[in-house]
């Protein structure tokens, strides 16, 4: 399967995150994805890079975050790489109830944080996380629509 790959690297400063977000959105827009889909995917990558800077690197700006964009015939993958503190893999497991499953009338319980991973899980088709030799890699996968696996049970 042919693959085209671009690696983006930024210093771990939140001021640099829009550079990555805009680049990813532009790259996605060159595929068959719609503008809205490209925006949503860029949002996911921004959330992942924010998490790396804030949680893995404690907002220290002298580290590096890499984003590897890979374009396959059937999918896009985005690997967000850092060498900071590893995330608890349990954070990726779907939460029950979902952070989006709140009572809109109950003001005090509206979520102000913790939505980033939920947005990623809702938007991307696959999300995985590995730590090897001190390098953390969050991999986000989005299949092109015609290639997505239909998990709906067959009727009849």
């Amino acid at each position: 399967m042919s693959e085209r790959r671009i690696t983006l690297a930024i210093a771990s400063d939140l001021q640099n995150v829009p550079l990555v977000g805009q680049a990813i959105q532009r790259l996605c827009s060159l595929t068959s994805l719609s503008d809205i889909e490209s925006h949503q995917i860029a949002l996911c990558v921004v959330e992942a890079v924010n998490n790396a800077i804030i949680h893995a690197y404690d907002r220290e700006a002298e580290h590096e975050v890499q984003v590897i964009f890979s374009h396959y015939s059937d999918k896009l993958t985005f690997q967000i790489c850092d060498a900071g503190r590893a995330m608890d893999p349990n954070c990726l497991a779907p939460k029950a109830p979902s952070p989006f499953d709140f009572d809109p009338r109950c003001l005090e319980r509206l979520p102000e944080g913790g939505l980033g991973l939920a947005i990623i899980r809702s938007t991307m088709d696959e999300v995985s996380y590995t730590t090897t030799c001190g390098k953390n890699i969050l991999t986000l996968t989005r299949f092109f629509k015609s290639c997505r696996i239909d998990t709906t049970p067959l009727m009849g």
Binding site: L14, H39, F100, L110, G113
Partner: protein, 119 residues
């Protein structure tokens, strides 16, 4: 970050002059909104027409403003672009906030002076 402010009767229109409401500026935005609410404004229209991108930190700051109101006032949003509206729908915040197409509609519902609101 820069916030433009305008009065329309007893309604305060707040317009972030940023194209991205994200983790870089979410804390600053949250603090400015907190100050506006603490200074007694109870009817606020947040005009997001200039904002092209909102991440979860930016959204959290908007939610924080609503919670800061504590049910004693109203914070509504208007001018959402298609991209930012998608985030409100995805996170189900469209069920929490009253969302209007433009300032005039939002100000009208809050009982402010529509002449001072942009269409």
């Amino acid at each position: 970050m820069q916030l433009d402010q305008r009065r329309a009767g007893d309604v305060l229109i707040v317009i972030p002059l940023e194209d991205r409401l994200d983790a870089r500026i979410a804390t600053d935005f949250k603090e400015q909104m907190t100050e506006l609410i603490a200074s007694g404004h109870t009817k606020i229209v947040l005009d997001l027409s200039k904002v092209e991108f909102i991440d979860s930190s930016g959204l959290g700051a908007i939610v924080s403003g609503l919670k800061r109101m504590g049910g004693r006032g109203e914070l509504v949003v208007c001018g959402l672009q298609e991209t930012t509206m998608t985030l409100f729908r995805l996170t189900r915040m469209d069920r929490v906030f009253q969302v209007f197409e433009n300032e005039r509609q939002a100000v009208s519902v809050l009982g402010g002076n529509e002449k001072d609101a942009a269409t």
